[in-house]
């Protein structure tokens, strides 16, 4: 993904930002998913 860019010199690409946000997105998905699993395991409220 982070291959060398052929843009004009001095152009800035926030690769570090993407890395931080990927970590955030994975954490979000895992934590959200864990609560969702609790929900599913606790069963229906209108069977």
């Amino acid at each position: 993904m982070a291959g060398p860019e052929s843009h004009s010199e001095g152009e800035f690409h926030p690769r570090g930002t993407v890395a931080v946000l990927v970590i955030f997105a994975v954490t979000l998905a895992v934590l959200w998913g864990s609560i969702y699993l609790i929900l599913v395991s606790q069963g229906a409220t209108m069977p």
Binding site: P14, V20, Y36, L39
Partner: protein, 567 residues
């Protein structure tokens, strides 16, 4: 697709923008007084935090305070009202009294209006304080009827809100005059974000205004025999969720338009920053039913619509995350940071203001995750009204917002008083104390909430607490005490700073103002126009709230008499 490069003609600004603007003495006084009330409220409100946290670990100190305070709930009311409502509102009106004239490079157009607003707001606070201190209004900051406070509590809250409206009108007039004098010029983002926040607040508070004026006030005066509790919840949460964006957006103003400068960076995208602010205006209000997922009187279809809209409002925050972090990355790389993550330690963590706002951002990641869980329709069944919820909002309003405001205060208070900050190293430590205390407190509250512990409950007295909750209630107490140390340090640092001798003007911190990577004149005009966004905002509110409001009002049943002697 036409790409605009820097060679494209930039629509020229007709009048050159002055390089800076020095706040007038009266503006400085207004900022200072607003912030003074805010810090006092934070200090007094925070005195009760550790009492609540310790109670959960079965160390109940409230009986020792009997002559002053009757109960846990009187303390909890003070904590919620002073910290969530007063500290935030006064700090925000103070902060914007600085950002708007500074960003527009012109004095407040109607300073008397701003003074009047501040005075009304303060009189409201004093009016509401009396019944709270007399234990006549231990109804918590949500004041759900049919718990009935003394009527002066409702009068006081109304005046606080009306006062903030009036300060807002002072801002609108100043902004409007600037627009008229600067046709074709993009309004400065710092001012635009501030004014959008106040407009959002104006629209949002209509819910609670209608609640108090048509139901609670006449009822507490005996003019109305009963109220409709379900309808009042709907009114309350019309205001209650956008309230959190009213708290959060001033922090975003700082993160977008000030913090990049403080870290030697630049705002990564002026256009998307504006887009985020407009989206908050558009989406903040019509989603209050996500606080009412388990209310019996709201149809699930409307809950579902508000759930989808709540997911939508998460988007501008995720956009903000990118733009702000990229702006920080610009700074960290300019400061010599290398590699994927090397720009992070290269940021000026030893500057108290920067340190606090970075820590605020980290805690907001966690708060945001919890918020998406809360918003997730039926997933809310797992956490609704459990200790998870106070855990969540201590990561948002008490971390993302409060740590940012503390960070802002660390340059703003010296700036308006002509001092230098006392003990900057201690100020950095103060931020870390808050951060660590909050990690412990919030983790404990989230976990014990998942185990089923209810919120707003003195668990030390509860007969049903199982052993499995106790490690977490114990950690809640530890976190609460550490946070208390953090808030005391903050108040002491601010106080000593104000009491210092005036510093040489060259030593006094300037107002940080970030440039954008790209000239704001290259931002599309539709991101700087009010009419379409205001129309869209009102339209969406009418669609998402109109039918239920009409239904609930038409079927109003004022059958609940007040209860005012049960705390």
């Amino acid at each position: 697709m036409t790409a605009i490069t820097s060679t494209t003609a930039v629509p020229a600004a007709p009048v050159a923008r002055p390089a800076t603007y020095a706040l007038s003495a009266t503006e400085k006084r207004l900022v200072g007084l607003n912030v003074l009330v805010a810090v006092l409220a934070l200090f007094i409100g925070s005195l009760f935090g550790p009492l609540q946290a310790l109670e959960h670990a079965r160390v109940d100190l409230y009986p020792l305070l009997q002559p002053l305070l009757k109960s846990y709930y009187q303390g909890l009311t003070l904590h919620g009202v002073l910290n969530a409502l007063v500290w935030t509102t006064f700090f925000i009106t103070g902060f914007f009294t600085l950002t708007i004239p500074f960003a527009l490079r012109r004095p407040l157009a109607a300073p008397k209006l701003n003074w009047a607003g501040f005075i009304v707001q303060t009189l409201g606070l004093l009016t509401a304080a009396v019944p709270i201190l007399l234990n006549q209004a231990s109804v918590l900051y949500t004041f759900y009827p049919p718990l009935q406070a003394h009527f002066t509590f409702y009068v006081g809250l109304t005046l606080v809100v009306v006062g903030s409206w009036i300060q807002g009108y002072g801002f609108y007039i100043t902004f409007y005059r600037w627009r008229k004098d600067n046709p074709g010029v993009r309004s400065p983002l710092m001012a635009l974000g501030s004014v959008i926040t106040m407009v959002l607040w104006q629209i949002a508070t209509l819910g609670v205004a209608v609640e108090i004026l048509t139901q609670l006030l006449p009822w507490s005066l005996g003019l109305l025999k009963g109220v409709d509790p379900q309808l009042n919840r709907t009114y309350f949460w019309f205001t209650g969720h956008p309230l959190v964006y009213f708290w959060l957006l001033p922090a975003y103003v700082s993160w977008y338009t000030m913090l990049p400068k403080q870290v030697d960076g630049k705002l990564f995208s002026d256009a998307l920053a504006r887009f985020a602010f407009w989206l908050f205006l558009f989406l903040s209000v019509p989603l209050g039913f996500h606080h009412q997922y388990v209310d019996p009187g709201v149809p699930p279809m409307w809950k579902y619509i508000h759930a989808i809209l709540t997911y939508a409002v998460a988007f501008p925050s995720m956009l903000t995350a990118f733009t702000v972090i990229a702006s920080l990355e610009v700074g960290g790389r300019a400061r010599g940071g290398k590699g994927l993550f090397g720009w992070i330690p290269a940021l000026p963590w030893r500057t108290p203001s920067v340190n606090h706002q970075l820590l605020a951002g980290i805690l907001f990641f966690l708060g945001g995750i919890g918020g998406i869980v809360n918003a997730s329709y039926n997933v809310n069944l797992v956490v609704h009204n459990t200790a998870w919820v106070p855990g969540h909002f201590h990561l948002t309003v008490a971390s993302a917002v409060t740590l940012s405001f503390m960070g802002i205060a660390y340059w703003m208070v010296p700036h308006i008083t002509g001092r230098t900050l006392w003990a900057p190293k201690l100020a950095v430590i103060q931020g870390w104390v808050w951060f660590v205390g909050m990690l412990i407190f919030a983790t404990a509250q989230h976990r014990v909430g998942l185990l089923g512990a209810p919120r707003r409950t003195p668990l030390g007295q509860a007969p049903y607490v199982p052993a499995s909750w106790q490690p977490w209630t114990f950690l809640t107490a530890i976190g609460g005490v550490i946070l208390f140390v953090g808030v005391i340090l903050f108040v002491v640092i601010i106080l000593v700073t104000v009491l210092r001798k005036p510093a040489h003007p060259s030593q006094v911190p300037a107002i940080p103002e970030a440039e954008a990577l790209q000239d704001p004149q290259l931002t599309p005009a539709w991101l700087d126009r009010w009419a379409p966004w205001l129309v869209a905002t009102v339209a969406l509110i009418l669609i998402a709230y109109g039918p239920q409001l009409i239904y609930q009002i038409a079927n109003m049943s004022n059958t609940s008499p007040g209860f005012n002697n049960i705390w």
